[in-house]
Symmetry: C2
Subunit: 507 residues, 2 copies
């Protein structure tokens, strides 16, 4: 296991940057180039890539946030990051993410702790931080920051073990997932989540409805607020950092949703729709929303307000059901903020390119600037087997427009449960989409890595090219399929047809 996190084979190492406001150490990845330059990049692997760290899955990861949490316990009062931000206080978490966001630069436009505080205070950014999950390194989700990506894992009734899911989670952070959602619906949901929480250094999200439904034997009719609330408490205590809660799908939305080409494609959304139709009552997550706020506030768990009515086909994109729910999510965001609870808004789904902009515009209008977190969107329905790509096209575009976090879609979407290799392919694809969006929106220093890559290309520094790419292992393997170590060219053009070699010979 250690070996998968060995940075040295890719010319990199873990470094730590000290805080100036707080006694913190922020882990980053430093790539050393053959020309002596060093490129510092964002790193999601936590202690796994620290040479001095011994992996022990049973023991779990180091609790990096524990000292700050203990300090607050001594003060005797617990507050959310939103509360601190609103009161003008820059927490260690805020300084941590400010340092993290500045990859390579000493630029004047660099992200500062004060900017982080302000964005959180205004509700435009979220720093997920359940105090029961001290293993998670602080990270921030907001349109002024690097676009983040989430990797979904989790078993289904048809397969996978706890070991496999932990391995997928570790694999996800190795390739750069900023958060991981455990969407297990199969066996041993509690134990699977526990193993994941204790063994990844990133915030964990869940959809508590899945476990609530398992508790009533899969019978939607038997679901109650009490069972759901108990499940929430269980997951709060375990350390989940953000919950997808489908509180915006209401009885009035159902007639339109049921007439769609693909109906309701959100699992949580369909469960609540069914529950409402059986009980002829309003969605209990909506009617009990303030109770949920009060609970989440105690832990500083963020809402990820679920889009139960996201379109599952481009024919259903941007319809009345989808935008009707989005308006409700905006109202709920205001209620959560009243309780100092942080809020993310979930978005689609399947949306053709020409309809993406309207999604972002309406989200900003209805949701008062709360961070948007989209699944893709997929820009066509016929990409089965390639839907990581169908969706990366939409994801890059909506990320550029201001979406703060992109939920990956794997090659197996619509077909099967992804395995470890699918997780890698999905995560790297989404790192690429997020990075393209960072460049397009002008995140400070985002294009520096590209610039160093381009210099390495022009100077034929092959190892630097591999090491600067998002998947050095794949790049290296492909390059050496047809060529031997030490060549100054690649097999694509051969030694005599390399445009860059010819160009340099002019100079």
């Amino acid at each position: 296991m250690k070996n998968i996190f060995d940075l040295s084979k890719n010319g990199a190492k873990k470094i730590y940057i000290d805080g100036t406001l707080h006694p913190i150490k922020v882990g980053m990845r430093e790539i050393s180039l053959q020309n002596g330059k060093k490129v510092c990049v964002y790193d999601t692997t936590g202690a796994y890539t620290d040479d001095n760290y011994q992996i022990d899955i049973r023991k779990g990861m180091p609790k990096v946030r524990e000292p700050w949490i203990k300090e607050r316990e001594k003060e005797g009062e617990f507050h959310t990051q939103l509360w601190y931000a609103r009161h003008g206080i820059i927490t260690p978490e805020m300084e941590y993410v400010a340092i993290r966001e500045n990859q390579n630069n000493e630029r004047e436009d660099r992200i500062t702790p004060e900017m982080v505080r302000e964005e959180i205070a205004e509700g435009r950014a979220v720093l997920p931080s359940n105090y029961r999950h001290p293993e998670a390194e602080p990270m921030i989700i907001g349109s002024k920051f690097l676009v983040k990506i989430n990797a979904n894992i989790g078993n289904s009734a048809l397969g996978s073990s706890i070991e496999e899911e932990v391995e997928k989670a570790m694999w996800a952070v190795k390739w750069g997932a900023d958060t991981v959602m455990d969407l297990s619906t199969g066996k041993e949901i509690h134990q699977t989540r526990e193993a994941i929480l204790r063994n990844v250094p990133v915030p964990i999200g869940t959809v508590p409805m899945y476990q609530a439904l398992e508790k009533v034997g899969g019978e939607i009719a038997d679901l109650t607020w009490e069972v759901y609330y108990d499940t929430l408490v269980e997951q709060c205590e375990q350390g989940v950092d953000y919950f997808t809660i489908h509180a915006g799908i209401l009885q009035r939305h159902l007639p339109a949703a049921l007439k769609r080409v693909t109906g309701i494609v959100s699992r949580g959304g369909s469960i609540l729709a069914k529950w409402m139709s059986i009980n002829k009552q309003e969605n209990f997550l909506y009617t009990h929303f303030e109770d949920i706020c009060k609970l989440l506030k105690k832990y500083d768990i963020a809402f990820s307000l679920g889009d139960g009515l996201r379109p599952g086909s481009i024919a259903d994109a941007n319809d009345a059901a989808q935008f009707g729910e989005l308006e409700v999510l905006g109202e709920l965001a205001k209620i959560a903020w009243k309780h100092d609870v942080q809020v993310i808004i979930e978005g689609p789904g399947h949306v053709p390119m020409q309809k993406i902009r309207e999604n972002m515009d309406k989200q900003i209008k209805y949701c008062h600037g709360a961070p948007f977190y989209t699944l893709g969107p997929l820009v066509s329905d016929i990409g089965a087997g390639y839907d990581h790509i169908t969706s990366a096209i939409g994801a890059a575009m909506i990320g550029w427009m201001g979406t703060a976090m992109l939920c990956y879609v794997t090659t197996k979407e619509h077909l099967a449960l992804p395995n470890k290799d699918d997780v890698r392919e999905g995560v790297v694809t989404y790192k690429l989409a997020a990075h393209a969006a960072d460049i397009a929106k002008g995140h400070p220093g985002a294009a520096e890595r590209d610039l160093q890559m381009s210099h390495a290309r022009y100077e034929m520094r092959w190892n630097d090219q591999f090491n600067l790419s998002l998947d050095p292992e794949r790049a290296r393997r492909m390059h050496f399929e047809m060529i031997r170590e030490g060549s100054d060219h690649c097999s694509m053009c051969g030694p005599h047809f390399c445009a860059m070699k010819i160009t340099k010979s002019i100079l």
Copy 2:
């Protein structure tokens, strides 16, 4: 070999639609669904998917255009499609592509032969049709039509045989390539091209400079207009349908180009830059441009005016060198049109998302509406090993904006020569990008296949989902990795957590 073209295993068959103006039969692919519906889609495989056709690589493919060419020979005068279009004549080729462009619809906004003629007459569309390549089925490249994709194949000094390259070419059309460029720079360039020309039913493009350089032993200093012209004649006679000709890179552009981060990354561009710097003379493709027009006119070969100064890094995107050359390409297009020769304009390359729009706008402005044909563009430089995706993001966007043809980029770009599997991955990825663009720009009926796919999804018609996808073989394989035939669900959510099943149970 026959087996790779067997449509029946994917629920499809070849059908032929008769012309009304001319005695022509247009091959299309018809997918039969379990609910009795039939979906008719564009097909690039020619006779290969005809049940009655026996593949014989030595004999080559049927000459579908031969009767029309013979008819013109009888008339004693040869003209280009542009000449016919300008004279108000709808050729069999024009009617053929009009029928082909209408995939599923009897809509009022369907493409008509007259629209095809008008777009060609105005220079906004190109129908490549060297009369020496009668095996190629007519197809059209223009912003009012379906976005087309090109697959580059060809050997390098470091590998591949004629057999491998022919197999790649057949593989490319199997997965949907609309044209194939043979970019061989290695051994047996003439023989490789001959084998490809005789065995694929799509237009073939080349960069004649590669073979011209081979003829002078790879010595750029020894290149002459005469050697180049001889090479052109050889390739004209062989049947190449369009030539990439880097006639727009001029001496005055070189100082800016040589100062770039990645210099000149076009092979043709770098060769000409070197030649100009050695000889202190203007680009001989520019000075002899009208001679080339006169030659191409005799065969109806289209210019693909090459962007020798396309940016090879996002740092170089949209710079003075790139746009300076583009302006020259626009001037050359007018000269070609004067000779009734069809023209396509090539475009970049590496362009970050926020700079893509300017490329399209400037191309329309400088090039008077001639079809744009871009390589990607790649929206970041750090995607090595995933550059089919980095570039598909840019390709989908620029296709939506009006680019008529997208040159694929494979996973091995920047690393190695692609193999057969890389060709498949690249072609399907680009079919997806082109299709997403067709939907976004509202091509008549483009979203019909997505709609049928979505209905099949909601109704759990699994075979229909596979058969409607762009790569039925991959979709089917992935689905059955964890589940057995006859299941009404997939392993992603299992039998109890399928949102669509739950939704339908409400109704």
